[in-house]
Symmetry: C2
Subunit: 219 residues, 2 copies
């Protein structure tokens, strides 16, 4: 049996705690092909419902595709701005929320809703388990990237229909995450939205319940 | 800036590759409170859309709640069996798909759809981003657990309505993952479903596309 040592455990926690959503610190240094393959293989070793491995990876480096994605982001972001008011709106407008051009690699991780179907073990009662598996792949990749000192930012301010059109994604496939990847000048000590005063880190204790929801005392 | 060393990077990959969905290898050794808190804090440091931290954690140890969950699993699993035919059905029936009683700790991770709402930065165009954030928390916890040599199994064969009823989860909160946690006799070298011949590991290469979906050649 593979045992994880105490030192290795600390490395995992260090990676988890120092992982950031990166938008502003990308540098132009390219990601080597073998490093990118390590990241994709880490994603590919995520848990998946019924071992269905429903993910695909679209690797984007061209200026052409990045430009189309950036335009789609700009349209969505202008719509998003209008949903905030007053000070929040002003702060929102000061935030940098994507690094599409600066990141050498963009990556769309998708979920094939028909992979190994129609009946997938473990998906019979929770049909979104394939999507959840794909998100697990995203988080595996995010942590592997951090372990390679590569930053990752998740761009979610974009219409899914635009993503599907630009990336030629067929109907039975759902884009789950659009990520920007690259080496960075530095990783922030704290999440950018915390540093900028958008929201603060919640205390963990009130989020823990015992036996049932809203029961706050251990039996 | 926090730099991850080569040795630390290898520890992260070792953890990712040796993580398993555990159903059969739980031992009765309890999980210490401080270890459980480390796991929950790792989950709490997952990325979340707009830093909204939409998750809650229901820690279950009582025989009473476990029994109700197990009953709900049995009902759903009987329905699931009927969706398979012939050899697949026979193989399905031989699989052990949960360790609810054997695992000392069960954990339901939920998503509060109203947390820091109604308008959440980054969720304006993809309303399920809060659910995705919660899944990232699940995967952080899963890897932290593996780094502690603790096994985790995800029980998805259960009606969400039953989960909500048993755990007294309010309407605005969605149960995302029901997990079984415990120390193990060993971690399997391969996923159990692979070992049992349910499905095999896909090759990674055909899952990689360039610039657009289904484009298999680098420019």
């Amino acid at each position: 049996m593979t045992t994880i040592t105490g030192q290795e455990r600390e490395a995992v926690y260090k990676t988890i705690y120092s992982r950031r959503d990166v938008r502003s610190q990308f540098i132009s240094k390219p990601i080597e092909d073998d490093v990118l393959m390590r990241l994709l293989d880490a994603a590919h070793h995520a848990p998946s419902v019924g071992f269905s491995q429903p993910w695909d990876f679209i690797v984007i480096k061209s200026q052409k595709v990045k430009s189309e994605i950036k335009q789609a982001f700009d349209i969505a972001n202008q719509e998003a701005v209008e949903q905030f008011e007053g000070d929040r709106k002003a702060l929102y407008q000061r935030l940098k929320l994507q690094g599409i051009f600066e990141a050498p690699v963009n990556l769309c991780i998708t979920c094939d809703r028909t992979r190994n179907g129609p009946v997938v073990l473990g998906r019979t009662h929770q049909s979104d388990m394939d999507i959840y598996s794909t998100v697990c792949a995203v988080q595996n990749l995010w942590l592997a990237a951090r372990a390679e000192n590569i930053g990752v930012g998740w761009v979610s301010i974009i219409h899914l229909e635009a993503l599907k059109r630009i990336l030629n994604i067929p109907d039975h496939v759902t884009p789950v995450a659009y990520l920007c990847l690259g080496y960075v000048s530095h990783f922030d000590e704290k999440p950018e939205l915390e540093k900028m005063g958008w929201l603060s880190r919640d205390d963990l204790t009130p989020l823990i319940h015992f036996e049932t929801y809203n029961n706050k005392s251990v039996d």
